[in-house]
Subunit: 339 residues, 2 copies
């Protein structure tokens, strides 16, 4: 039986497809766009089988065809518009059409095809205003006060999925993702049809490192609840595979203190890429690296660990080493490619 991954050509989706293919699984990747060629070449060496079905999430018939293409035991639903403020101000509707109605469409098709479990990907961003207060975010107790359309749509999709799971007797689990760092991120505004408006500082720096040059960092740090992207892929597979789950929503992040990590990552890159250097911005100088938000509090990840046994990498040096290996191997091709 296959696992269907929606948004398989996106940042989260590529990490899920890779985790499944690395484990020798059958994968159906459903996306508007084909797998990026650099990723497709890398995944070809893995033991799993990957079928691609191209289609738009809002097109229920395309989704139905993808699910009908092979018997699917699970769906991991990562397709989403990760909108920034400019997109939200200019064109708010598609954020809800894709992120909420698209999720309902996935559940409708899962029900029709008797798929055993659907894993939907929400976001730590859903906690919204609570992220800027001290303390760990807990799945059921922290006020969920989403501020952006993206975060609001993610929380709405969560709660809609929870309701429909109950009404339709479906097995649905929901992961609230921390901010991914690691392989397969690109600047959504820089590739055709991109729907990911954020481009994290770790990837910005890595893309700069492979080109060569000097990074100028903002003086004020902005730590996030980061998590190594391949861990997110593996954890979502663990949620799809777990025999039974005691909860609906699971925080999914590394759960560690990331203070100072951007500078440490710069140091790692500088050792590997001699043409790369970095420094802090001088007074009045514009940084060349930007953070996508101010500092946020972390999520409590004990529920995911307790219920699935999954543990994300927590050693920053190990994460940096693994990510830097990927950057050396694929970075130049990845950030140069447009498809």
């Amino acid at each position: 039986m296959a696992v269907l991954v929606t948004g398989g050509s996106g940042y989260v989706g590529l990490n899920v497809v890779q985790a499944l293919a690395a484990a020798g699984r059958e994968v159906v990747s459903f996306d508007r766009l084909p797998l990026p060629s650099v990723a497709a070449r890398a995944f070809a060496a893995l033991p799993g089988r990957i079928d691609q079905i191209q289609g738009e999430l809002r097109d229920c018939e395309a989704l139905a065809r993808a699910i009908a293409s092979r018997p699917c035991e699970a769906i991991i639903h990562t397709a989403a518009i990760t909108s920034g403020p400019a997109r939200e101000a200019a064109d708010p509707r598609p954020v809800f059409e894709v992120n909420v109605l698209g999720t309902i469409g996935v559940l409708e098709e899962a029900r029709r095809a008797s798929v055993r479990r659907v894993v939907i990907t929400s976001s730590g961003a859903a906690y919204g205003e609570s992220l800027y207060r001290p303390g760990l975010m807990r799945e059921d107790d922290t006020p969920v006060l989403p501020t952006t359309l993206y975060a609001t749509s993610k929380y709405a999709a969560e709660r809609a999925a929870r309701r429909l799971a109950e009404l339709w007797s479906l097995q649905v689990a929901c992961a609230r993702l921390g901010t991914l760092i690691g392989p397969w991120e690109r600047d959504g505004s820089a590739h055709p049809g991109g729907v990911r408006d954020n481009f994290g500082p770790h990837s910005q720096l890595a893309a700069l490192a492979v080109r060569g040059g000097e990074a100028v960092l903002p003086v004020d740090e902005s730590t996030r609840d980061w998590v190594y992207a391949p861990d997110v892929g593996r954890a979502l597979v663990a949620l799809a595979d777990a025999p039974a789950l005691a909860h609906f929503a699971y925080n999914l992040s590394a759960g560690i203190d990331w203070h100072g990590d951007v500078q440490a990552w710069c140091d790692t890159l500088a050792k590997r890429f001699p043409g790369f250097s970095w420094r802090l911005a001088r007074a009045g100088e514009a940084p060349t690296v930007h953070y996508t938000d101010r500092a946020r509090s972390n999520m409590d990840v004990s529920r995911l660990e307790g219920d699935t046994g999954f543990r994300a990498l927590r050693e920053r040096a190990a994460i940096h080493a693994a990510f830097a290996d990927w950057v050396e191997r694929h970075g130049a091709a990845w950030w140069a490619a447009t498809v």
Copy 2:
């Protein structure tokens, strides 16, 4: 300048239209359906002017025509699908299309027409799971854990409106309504095109009282955070009119203990309608009156009172007397009418 009321032919909307017309205001009522004839006749005696524009909320052009029909200073947006479990299981998409995308459409048109303020109507139901815990619901501190698609869509519309208000520099206020009791409620499943699946016990009993007969109540009481419907109309107008508002979200309810109210309402009705009687269900007997949910905690209404000066009626005897007057005057025609 007029005030546009979306959903003007619905339960909340009729109470808003009435409050505006009673205050001598100009009203544009926008709804798929015309004003119900019983209400239209009653409102004709009021000093205000009511124009009706028929159209579907999802039809942006119809909404634009309504807003362009007269200069509008404010929009009070009450149009919504108030879905119950059967509708949610059978047809989940329209709940989000109308309640979320429809709200975005209202804000888009308000921005285009430079409307001074938009008041959107959310629901105490948005608090969801928190409603079944002790303590008062507070706008910013209580975890918002909507359980139904209706409640989820209402919270999503709230947060989307808050975001777009910021991005577009619009004045938007949001009222989280308690459960209305009072004039102009009907069983949404009993009239053509109805989108209100709930029909509260007070109206069920009043409809029975005007027909005559015996009501059989459930033995277990289910109190709610009730509020007199005309107060909701007046409070929404107060939110539209307030010169400046310090907050975005406002709980709007009576804020009183309603314990024992359904039986007290039965006693009021029995005095006014000699053909009506009531009793509790016997062991194993099916009640003829149903509650739409189990007991819920109340909302804290101090923010609304502090910021607008508005105070809802809190004397249950006064509410019952006013509602019973309306039932005597309009109830027979109202619950007999299909349009």
